[in-house]
Symmetry: C2
């Protein structure tokens, strides 16, 4: 039986489809960070992506795959933040109604962004059950098409386009890294990277306090995320069957990162590269700092997933 | 009598001299900020410059102009921050001793940066008199060459190279803006811009609490800065005869910016462009927000002077 799975060609197709809507984000480096880690790091700056995160890639790819009938009824999703903002922004660009279900504990900066893009927001309790129930009700009322944040073929293919651009700019990487939450970015990254070259390793960084992907890899079974605790608010969700499959197939290693190393890595990037990244983006670098083996003198591409932070709620101390 | 003043050719010469030592920094834009101001803004990102500020341009140009005898004895300066870091970094790259006199109330991040570059630091009281006296003593002891932060021909020419790069990337600007403190950046910017095209306006932004350049322009006399009060700690110093002359000759307008508009402009750039700038860098945009006349629909280049901030001491509130 042939299983229908996203491949490098789907990522290439997504890139052709979304290219004129997205920012081709820069790849940045820091001599000082390279010296500190004794490796050459290439940061793909999705914090500069539209709506402030890589999520805009998948969202715009999903929308551009819908029929005009579907688009007329609008799109909806439940998300704690960046996927919501990305879908709202992509919908606004295509003049399509967007219906967003957000947990009421979402960060203020993300609520504000979604509202600014003109989406209709429905708040709910911060549980997966409440999110799904509320979403079902909104779908029933509006007829909108539900766009899952990561358990979709076209979302995964869209997220993989960040790795496509990274590898077209720096083709001779030894390792490509992304953070892992629901696994959409990591799946797309891994599918593209291994399709591009089997000899490039794909690693992930995951918060120790939300290490369901690490446990799933270790046990070979999808272990859901139960009561995750991390400041990396983009990485609280569980893998889906689809992302677990892609990660099992293509990811070589998941490294854990404690909260203090998330702050250290985030501060290093803010201070040395003068760019704003959110805690989730700092997890791969923090994971390398926490596990300083196996990458010395290597060329490592890291996808900085986003830059949406509340400036009044930063973790830095004197 | 021919007065010896820096011209566009000195800026071109400086650029040829320092080109391989500096970062050619990117020019960035934000659709949202453009919409908010009803103008097209092009930000020259000197926050990404080596040592985190445009000052590295002037410092490296000054050093590359010294004789090998002078270089062997080292260089020195007094500075509250970015010039100190820049001179220390340029000296380190050229393997030259650096002796830095810093007011003891300089920001921790700037003290740390200077120390990291391997310079010898001497702290003093935060007055111009104490800085000059201490510097004189250090010069006497070491034989180092004093590199004034802005009252030097080669420093001004070096700072002008940011405008050179900006105008080579976006030649059809209507207005070029820079912040003004001691006036080195503004002088170099104005000299290059007017040499490039007399039809481009040169504007400056200055904190209302440190408005000596604005007063000097108004009265036609160099008015020293007395007890300046602003969070834009790079803009506390007074003009010198040399920078006052260049500014009188070439600058069309100085706009004032209150402290609350510095914070608003800084927050807008952090949140929307996802880059870290220091308060001094936010002053031109804040000044435009405070004085919303005369620039609608114009193309405005703004030099973001630097990105050295203490992350534990930020002005943002919920």
């Amino acid at each position: 039986m042939t299983v229908n799975r996203p491949t490098i060609d789907h990522v290439r197709g997504a890139h052709a489809r979304i290219r004129k809507y997205i920012h081709q984000t820069p790849v940045m480096s820091s001599e000082l960070i390279n010296r500190e880690l004794d490796a050459s790091l290439f940061f793909k700056c999705e914090n500069f992506q539209k709506a402030g995160a890589f999520k805009f890639r998948g969202a715009s790819n999903a929308l551009l795959n819908l029929s005009s009938d579907e688009l007329a009824r609008g799109v909806g999703t439940h998300s704690s933040g960046n996927h919501a903002g990305a879908l709202a922004k992509a919908a606004a660009l295509l003049n399509v109604p967007a219906f967003i279900v957000m947990p009421d504990n979402s960060r203020a900066v993300k609520k504000k962004a979604v509202a600014n893009y003109g989406a209709s927001i429905t708040y709910c309790e911060p549980t997966l059950q409440a999110r799904e129930d509320t979403m079902e009700r909104v779908q029933h009322e509006t007829g909108c098409t539900f766009i899952h944040p990561y358990d979709r073929f076209d979302i995964i293919a869209g997220q993989g386009t960040a790795a496509l651009e990274l590898l077209s700019e720096v083709p001779d990487l030894d390792i490509v890294m992304a953070p892992v939450g629901g696994g959409g970015l990591l799946s797309g990254t891994a599918i593209y990277t291994k399709g591009f070259s089997q000899s490039i390793q794909v690693w992930a960084g995951e918060p120790t306090g939300a290490c369901d992907a690490w446990e799933s890899m270790k046990t070979g079974q999808l272990v859901p995320s139960v009561n995750p605790q991390t400041m990396a608010d983009g990485l609280l969700t569980s893998l889906s069957d689809m992302t677990f499959q892609a990660i099992s197939d293509h990811v070589d290693k998941i490294l854990l990162c404690d909260e203090d190393n998330i702050v250290k890595a985030m501060q290093l990037i803010w201070e040395r590269m003068k760019i704003i990244i959110e805690p989730s983006s700092a997890v791969p670098l923090g994971a390398l700092m926490q596990n300083p083996a196996g990458y010395k003198s290597k060329k490592i591409g890291i996808i900085l997933s986003g830059g949406n932070v509340d400036l009044a709620e930063l973790p830095f101390t004197p």
